[in-house]
Amino acid sequence: MKVNVEDLVKRIPNTGDFISVDSEKCTMCERCLIVCVMNLWKRKDDAAYIVEDYQSRCLECGACYQVCESDAIRFRYPSGGTGIVYEKG
């Protein structure tokens, strides 16, 4: 069955920036690329980067921050009252 997960997510905009990466620290272990269920992490040269429109696609699960053993990924939650809304969670 083909389901487009992006169609199944509701959110409130204006989250502000909440994920960033320090490419100097990135060792390109690729764990963030594997675990992000929304496929928001990509590879460029020797470092991972997050897609520009991540604020409107991220599920705020924190997996990228959790798997980043080199401490290259900074994560905080979006501003209060913004971001993902789960009505049936």
Partner: protein, 469 residues
Amino acid sequence: MTNYDVVIVGAGPGGSIAAKEAAEKGLKTIFFERGRRPGEKNASGCGLGPRMWLDFDFMKELTPDECPSMRAGAAARNYFVNSEDEVSSYIMTRPTESVTYEPAKSFITMNVYRSEFDPWLAKYATDAGAELKTSTLIVGLLKEDDKVVGVIDERGEKYRGLVIGADGVISTVARESGLRTRWEQNQVTIVPQYDFAVSPEKIDDIMGDEALAVWWSSTFPAAYQVFFNDGFHIGLGNWMTWWDKNPLYYLNRCMNLKYFQRLVRILEAKPREFQCHLLPWLGYPNNTHTDNVILIGDAGGFPCPLEAEGIYPAMITARVSVEVAAEAISEGDTSKEFLSRFDEGWKKTSVGEDFETGPELASLWRALPFSPKENMSWLVPLISEVFGGIIDWSQPHGKRIRQVASQIKSYLPKMVPMLLKEILPLLTATLGEEKMELVTDPEKLLASMPELEKVIAQAFMIDDSDEEE
């Protein structure tokens, strides 16, 4: 800056119970929620365990009026999926005759959407006098002389008081207090899940009271299916160390099973929401407190080590944290040493009892449902052989029994090491060394049951008189 006795970060089940019970003790209490209302950021399975009805009186006030998504998970289906992605056997279970109390005799879990349950719970806290601040993200901890004295929100507002971190798996309180930067990769799982919309009548007709299912599989980590009044969740997880492909690949593999697709068709189920969360799942919680800080629920690593039930442990650890906080405040000592009473406290609860064999339980789960290719790939055919092997007209039944026995024997090289590695330590931890020795030492076992010894002797030992003949 505003002064409080207790400042609670998070308004999930842990935060709300902490706020309720702190307010009831007369403590000046505030709790924070980053969503516009409690529950709107939460995606969990989601079943409430019956122990909640034992320990929290108000649970009996949870009704469909308050929480329309309620559906009792009275019975559970266990599907066994083989290496060819076929459902090769299926077992239904319901609360067994050894279950001792209501409502556990009536349901295994009570399934609710968090968007309804969490606000319901939070209202008990605000009714008790706790102040709830929604749409408010706590970004840091207020420190004096390097010690935590409160929290700071994203607008720079400061709130002083003993800090209870009920802020979930990626806990700002844990990080900013130095208790934990991140989990070990084998202490936390990632869990994607879909919600499907289904009419309540269809669920009643097709599933009856079988409102839970586990898809035990040889090709993906065990998936859970939880039915609500008008929908269901299908999701799965595994530790961060496990994934060789995107977690969604494995969840889609479950959803693409022919059997699952058939269920979707007859239920006329429509995908409604996609969710993903992390879930701590560890053998034993540690680093649960420091000066003026206590971590509860997911933030403290308290989900059940076997099946990761999270809401009940959050509520129980919340209760203990508030008891300790009240003592600490009245004695004017909120040091790490004093707050170690929190660990002493939760260890005495039903949650603490689960963690007495926590490492063994977590290890067992890792070895079975979380190791589809290594272990479920022989366990699934073994189960099918046992249940399906006899209902078979291909040979005379005596021959079938020998074929089935021979097939089961072929799994022994994999089964025996697993039993020795996983089951024996669990039994030893549960029974204690002494009783375990009784079970595993044939001489002691027989000596403790003289009748058995006599029967075995009669049945198997060669009679002297036979030999003479």
